[in-house]
């Protein structure tokens, strides 16, 4: 359902993403990983329209979306979350999701439709959908869920989840990972999940794509990628060291 070909992005002389190809089947969950500065966020931002690629094409269900502005990409069926949650604090939780439901769905949407898809989305992520619930009552985990609910209320065919689990504790992480799986089961939505936290990601995704210095260095099932020597060298190696040192400290 998604085909990305020859995707490149330069910032001045720096090549952030270099000629990356990949594709996704409907209903797949793809984990996108790589060390800091490897181009994950740049790819993410090109998929969601924040950045225009210098080269390459992004086709969603046969439709070219590369270079379109974010609202149009949202209407074409791509929902996204922000790494650092960006709720609208002037609006209630329900209004936040309803705004997405109203403006983010393609075609003529009535107010009732918007509120209904907002309530459905909030239920799916486990947030209160009563009229008065304020955004200020939400903690870190709640705000992440609201990001997901906003994206889901737009009824996306492709969900881009940006480091959804940063800042959560272990139980919350497990719950959130299960939630992504659950969302896929219930809505049949295709998901690209950009994540730092490897353990949980590996458990949930169908496929993993690894980036390093803007290039794709591996693409395959979680086990296959985890044993790929290149990947271990650039990413898992340093991560394993960090994990080990963290374990020693505690």
């Amino acid at each position: 359902m998604l085909e990305v070909e020859g995707l490149s992005k330069h910032f001045g002389g720096f090549t952030a993403v270099d000629n990356v190809d990949f594709s996704l089947e409907k209903g797949e969950i793809l984990g996108l990983i790589g060390p800091n500065g490897s181009g994950k966020s740049t790819i993410f931002n090109m998929l969601s329209g924040v950045l225009k690629p210098n080269n390459g094409s992004i086709r969603l269900l046969g439709q070219e979306i590369a270079g379109a502005p974010p609202p149009r990409i949202c209407l074409m069926g791509v929902g996204r979350t922000f790494q650092i949650p960006r709720p609208i604090r002037r609006l209630t939780i329900l209004e936040n999701a309803a705004l997405a439901g109203y403006y983010g769905q393609a075609g003529a949407v009535s107010r009732e439709d918007a509120w209904k898809s907002a309530k459905d989305a909030l239920r799916l992520v486990g947030l209160p959908s009563d009229e008065a619930a304020s955004v200020d009552t939400l903690g870190a985990a709640g705000l992440k869920k609201l990001e997901l609910a906003k994206a889901l209320a737009t009824k996306p065919t492709l969900l881009l989840a940006d480091e959804s689990l940063g800042g959560l504790d272990h139980d919350e992480m497990d719950q959130a990972a299960d939630m992504l799986r659950n969302i896929r089961e219930e809505l049949g939505v295709t998901i690209i999940w950009v994540e730092h936290i490897m353990g949980v990601l590996m458990r949930v995704v169908d496929r993993v794509m690894v980036l390093d210095h803007g290039e794709k260095i591996a693409d395959g099932g979680p086990n296959e990628v985890a044993t790929n020597p290149k990947v271990i060298e650039v990413y898992l190696g340093s991560d394993a060291e960090e994990t080990a040192s963290a374990a020693n400290r505690s």
Partner: protein, 336 residues
């Protein structure tokens, strides 16, 4: 008290007002207040979403001058002239709004651009003084005595009172419609975080342009109404930086975020200006032989001090503060 009953009583009093033995001068003040209230409501339609325009004097001047010029020069009835003037204001709003919104000129920078707009329009009026009369002002030609529907003119204050009252209510209805629309949520979201709004499908530039055009058109209409009522306009009475700031000031005093805020702001500022004018007069006041100042400037001084005090102590304006107090009392009553 039942709020519906209150609205009904206020409406009845307003409709019956000319028959309640009100003198011509107080009636004149009420008409002026209604016309300015409409303009202020027009400003607050966008101002309440953080789109602070310091250029609405420009739209008001366009409304007044285009209508009057078309009447005098072309003989076009204000029934056509006013819509044309509103269309011009809409065009001007797009001309200034589109580049601002497209290139994300927001907050203080947007205010500065609009401030320049009001001065540009004032300068254009002054520069074309052969046609517009420049800073001496401009008068639509009288149709004759009595009233004329074609000329949208009337000697009769009472008739104009009802016209002004009707449009004032239309202004409130527009405010309410915007408040209840989905655009309100979109604009609140845009105000807080444009990227987050865009990410859920909100077309930021389009939403901002819509509300800006609405606001400009309303303000232009107020300018045309003012012109038809006063039968005299000048760059300083309906345009320029002075009027633009007066609009902002009155709305801040009354309350930016409430429907009746702009109206209460108009009541307070216009009555205050009248009281100060009558009380202090416009003669020169001399403290010593050498230090004299023109008393006509005193209202401006009082305005300035009030604006500072309001922004510090009553940022939501008089109406906002009353509503907060009211709701606070309601909440306490619920809790106990």
């Amino acid at each position: 008290m039942n709020s519906k009953l209150l609205v009904a009583i206020v409406a009845a009093v307003l409709v019956a007002l000319p028959f309640l033995g009100i003198g011509p001068y107080p009636l004149h003040l009420v008409i002026v207040i209604l016309i300015w209230s409409f303009a202020y409501t027009g400003w607050s339609v966008m101002g309440r979403f953080g789109l602070v325009s310091l250029g609405h004097g420009a739209f008001m001047a366009v409304g007044g001058y285009v209508t009057a010029l078309l009447w005098n020069e072309v003989g076009l009835t204000p029934w056509i002239g006013i819509p044309v003037a509103m269309a011009c204001a809409a065009g001007l709003a797009v001309l200034i709004g589109y580049p601002c919104f497209r290139f994300r000129i927001i907050g203080h920078y947007f205010a500065l651009v609009t401030l320049a707009l009001s001065e540009v329009v004032r300068q254009i009026i002054i520069a074309t003084r052969d046609t517009t009369g420049g800073s001496l002002g401009y008068t639509p030609e009288r149709f004759g005595d009595g009233w004329s529907i074609v000329a949208f003119q009337s000697d009769d204050r009472m008739m104009f009172y009802y016209v002004a009252l009707f449009f004032w209510m239309v202004g409130l209805v527009i405010w309410r419609l915007v408040d209840r629309s989905m655009s309100r949520y979109a604009l609140e979201a845009i105000w807080e975080d444009e990227d987050a709004a865009a990410a859920v499908g909100v077309q930021v530039t389009k939403e901002k342009l819509k509300v800006t055009v609405l606001s400009a058109v309303m303000t232009a209409f107020a300018g045309a109404m003012y012109c038809q009522y006063q039968m005299f306009i000048s760059p300083d009475t309906i345009g320029g930086v002075g009027i633009s700031l007066q609009i902002v000031f009155a709305v801040v005093v009354g309350g930016i975020y409430s429907m009746l805020g702009p109206t209460i702001g108009a009541v307070i500022t216009i009555l205050l200006a009248e009281v100060l004018r009558i009380w202090i007069g416009t003669e020169a006041i001399c403290l010593t032989d050498k230090i004299c100042f023109n008393a006509a400037g005193v209202p401006l001084l009082v305005y300035g001090i009030m604006l500072i005090l309001f922004i510090i102590f009553l940022p939501k304006g008089v109406v906002g503060a009353v509503i907060d107090k009211w709701q606070g009392r309601g909440k306490r009553a619920e809790q106990s």
